[in-house]
């Protein structure tokens, strides 16, 4: 039985919600790939880290930015200053200081760490030069003034800098502790130091994580949960549904194939728009038919995202794509999409054909050769790809060849420009429209279709360089218009996740960015 004890300690038969011991049990998809906050931005690691660590700022139960390790801050066009609160402690009892942030941020940009997300530090003075190995790490524009004041210098104004402060790349790491782990930092529960609402007390790789309330956390009074237990690591949708039915876990996502069952069981099904936007990206490279604007317009008028979502995808909560900018993004005074509504237009087969004829004339072609549609290999991708193939054949007489690839191969083909149109999507890095807006700027490494337009780039630069919310929102409005006029991409849908929560708890917070789901604010219903 040694293998049993090695693997898990024990998964005792407990309830998903144990109000008596104030414990909740949940499942996660896989082992967190990396719990060194400076090195990762994947969602599983962000889920764990968001519970056990805290940055200068944090997101509260209403997804608003509030004070975290810093109790006061001042952000200007040239830089930022943060004042560290007195009662912020590490889980070993020592205070969190400004030096811990300086050490962590330098580590992110140090080329030797090879952090994949080093470029998110670009707005900080010298970050890019350090990361390409040109100058030493000590020149990074961040200084500790004593233990309690952190000063940051910018290369240019960063209108969304406060949003970044809640992101795990910007979490603190204490230098002496890091050095004491001999290169094994964050590889086990005891080689990590915690400063968040919880601390990890158990981490059996691939099998079991346990987080217990951190008695030294400065805002400990808001935390009612005494432990979050995670003994199940699986991506199998039915397994999670069965665990929930057996009352072993407190929350389960509901996949499309389980929806009917969940409805029959009378569960309170909730939907959460997770912030990701999916769209069809065209290949704008020379020699591709999709470089022709009239051709793209023809597809824009033929393909209807409402039909795609309501008749093909049929998952409640999914929203038909109307814009590159999803509904949850803030504008100047209200939601961006309220201030600058998505462009409404009527899908029209006749107009689509007109555009197609114009494209044929411009291209000097009698018939359009087969179009390569690059897609993923999930059942949903296959269904949607077939809908496109069928619609374009019927409405425009176009031949579409579906190139269905597994994730890594699809990425390789996208990067190489080996497609005419590709079904893809984007999840935000930070809560600002710019994380979507700069995608199609010339030279952006994620601009897989190589779209290039001086007018587009000009608006992106306005949004990047201005700190005036009104001017920025107007720039995003312009980008939205250009994307429609030029048919840069065709929005497909905004993804939603269906889930249900054990009625014995309330206060589970779903987040577009950061720890999702967040159990910090969970309250136990009175019996």
């Amino acid at each position: 039985m040694t293998a049993l004890s090695m693997a898990s300690g024990s998964t005792a038969l407990k309830a998903g919600v144990d109000a008596e011991s104030r414990t909740i049990t949940v499942s996660i998809d896989t082992e967190p790939p990396q719990l060194d906050g400076s090195m990762t931005a994947d969602s599983i690691s962000a889920f764990v880290l968001g519970h056990v660590m805290e940055g200068l700022l944090r997101k509260d139960e209403n997804n608003q930015l509030v004070a975290g390790v810093a109790d006061r801050w001042d952000i200007t066009e040239s830089g930022a200053t943060f004042w560290i609160r007195k009662d912020a402690f590490w889980s070993d009892g020592k205070p969190v200081t400004a030096h811990d942030f300086v050490f962590a941020w330098r580590k992110v940009v140090d080329p030797a760490s090879a952090s994949e997300y080093a470029n998110i530090m670009s707005p900080i003075l010298n970050a890019d030069k350090i990361n390409s190995g040109k100058i030493p790490v000590a020149t990074l524009g961040v200084q500790a003034v004593g233990d309690r004041e952190l000063r940051v210098q910018f290369v240019k104004p960063v209108p969304y800098f406060d949003q970044l402060m809640a992101f795990n790349i910007f979490y603190p790491i204490r230098e002496d502790f890091f050095n004491s782990t001999n290169g094994r930092y964050a590889s086990s529960a005891d080689t990590l130091l915690y400063n968040g609402p919880f601390k990890m007390t158990k981490w059996v790789h691939g099998a079991h994580i346990r987080m217990e309330k951190n008695p030294l956390y400065w805002d400990r009074d808001i935390v009612e949960v005494s432990a979050i237990d995670i003994p199940y690591f699986t991506t199998d949708p039915s397994a999670r549904i069965n665990l929930f039915r057996d009352r072993q876990i407190a929350l389960t996502p509901i996949a499309q194939e389980n929806l009917e069952e969940a409805q029959l069981l009378g569960w309170n099904i909730k939907s959460f728009v997770d912030g990701t936007v999916y769209y069809i990206e065209f290949n704008h490279r020379d020699g591709r038919i999709t470089k022709n604007r009239n051709f793209r317009k023809a597809l824009q008028y033929a393909l209807n995202s409402k039909i795609e979502v309501n008749k093909v995808i049929k998952i409640p909560g999914y929203r038909p794509g109307k814009s590159l900018f999803p509904i949850w993004l803030d504008g100047a005074n209200d939601k961006l999409r309220k201030e600058y509504p998505a462009i409404e237009f009527i899908h029209d087969q006749a107009k689509a054909r007109e555009y197609l004829e114009a494209a044929k004339k411009e291209l000097g072609l009698k018939t359009i050769p087969p179009i390569m549609l690059l897609s993923g290999d999930s059942p949903l991708s296959n269904k949607v790809a077939e809908y496109y193939q069928d619609t374009l054949k019927r409405q425009l007489g176009l031949e579409v060849r579906i190139d269905s690839q597994i994730f890594k191969q699809r990425l390789a083909k996208m990067l190489a420009g080996d497609f005419d149109i590709v079904m893809t999507g984007w999840g935000p890095d930070y809560a600002d429209p710019l994380t979507f807006g700069d995608l199609f700027m010339a030279g952006n490494v994620n601009n897989r279709g190589n779209y290039s337009s001086a007018a587009y780039d000009r608006q992106v630069r306005i949004a990047q360089n201005s700190t005036d919310p009104v001017i920025r929102a107007a720039a995003f409005g312009m980008l939205q218009q250009i994307i429609f006029d030029d048919a840069v991409i065709l929005p497909e849908y905004e993804r939603a996740q269906l889930y249900t929560v054990d009625p014995k708890i309330t206060g589970v917070v779903r987040r577009v960015i950061g720890a999702d789901p967040d159990f910090t604010y969970v309250k136990f219903a009175e019996e």
Binding site: M1, A3, S8, Q34, E116, G206, T234, A239, Q409
Partner: protein, 310 residues
């Protein structure tokens, strides 16, 4: 005997080297990029990562470095589980798969022998029909269907009786093993039942059984001493490779029952092009299989002196 063992071991080493080389070449030939994620990186970040993982060096040099490390028993660090050594992944997760696998093999071996013998003894009577229906199901229905079905059945049973008779998923106690082991072993059990049945039928009609009957030996003695003992030989032969196949983990069963075994890592590594984990698990599985085959060959020599090579 010693020189034979030595010879087989050297052959085994060459086989493992061949597996490692072939996997290395095949892995690098697969399109796709181990470092790529949903979001592209700047060239500077990419270069830093390539240096970290040694991917900036020519392929021949990468191969030599890998083989050198392999000879020292160092399988490197995972590309996706960024703070874990492949050695640790195997050390922590193989015992889980092996525990589950051994239980499944025990179940399959015992069940297969017993049911096979029963069907032969009651040929064309109701026990034969019932067991053979189960056997045909076991062979033709894939394990993920059984896994989902067994799990759902457990949910219903637990719900009906009001407490957890057996856990629905998870790992950590003996009760966690029972259901996945049954599901995992079912296919092998069905196969062994059929094997045992035909072997038993052959023996029942042989001359020495007729003689034993004529001598007036009690039926249980004939069954245990003469029939079972001889009929079980083909089952033992198949059991060797079956152990190697089952104990190295099952992706589906581990996924459905949330079991932290090695099978999941193996499949996920291939999907994610996690070079070091692909190499580590393949070489490990290869070496394990080679070792099992050598062991079985040596065992034959002990069981049946005619097989022994002097």
């Amino acid at each position: 005997m010693l020189s034979y063992t030595l010879k087989r071991l050297i052959q085994g080493l060459i086989t493992v080297w061949f597996i490692a080389t072939a996997t290395f070449l095949a892995m690098h030939a697969v399109p796709g990029d181990p470092l790529s994620g949903a979001k592209a990186m700047t060239p500077e970040i990419r270069q830093n990562l390539e240096e970290k993982y040694g991917l900036d060096k020519p392929m021949s040099e990468q191969y030599l470095i890998y083989m050198g490390n392999l000879a020292r028993g160092d399988l490197g660090i995972s590309f996706t589980q960024k703070n874990r050594e492949v050695n640790d992944i195997i050390r922590e997760h193989f015992p889980v798969s092996a525990t589950l696998g051994i239980m499944a093999v025990v179940f399959a071996g015992l069940g297969g022998t017993l049911f096979g013998a029963l069907t032969a003894l009651y040929r064309n009577k109701w026990p034969d029909t019932v067991i053979m229906i189960v056997v045909i199901l076991g062979i033709s229905v894939p394990s993920f269907v059984f896994a989902a079905f067994a799990q759902l059945a457990m949910v219903k049973i637990n719900g009906a009786i009001g407490f957890s008779l057996l856990p629905v998923a998870g790992w950590g106690s003996v009760s966690h093993i029972i259901m996945p082991a049954l599901v995992l072993g079912l296919g092998t059990m069905a196969y062994l039942t059929r094997l045992m049945r035909s072997s038993m039928l052959e023996i029942i009609s042989s001359d020495y059984i007729r003689t034993a009957n004529a001598k007036g030996l009690p039926p249980t003695r004939i069954f245990l001493k003469h029939e079972m003992r001889n009929a079980v030989m083909p089952v033992v032969t198949v059991l060797g490779p079956a152990i190697a196949a089952i104990t190295t983990g099952s992706f589906v069963v581990e996924l459905v029952f949330a079991i932290p075994g090695l099978g999941r890592y193996f499949v996920q590594a291939v999907q994610q092009l996690d070079y070091t984990v692909i190499m580590g698990t393949t070489v490990f599985f290869g070496a394990f299989l080679v070792l099992m085959v050598i062991l079985v060959d040596l065992l034959y020599g002990f069981i049946d002196p005619r097989v022994r090579v002097s």
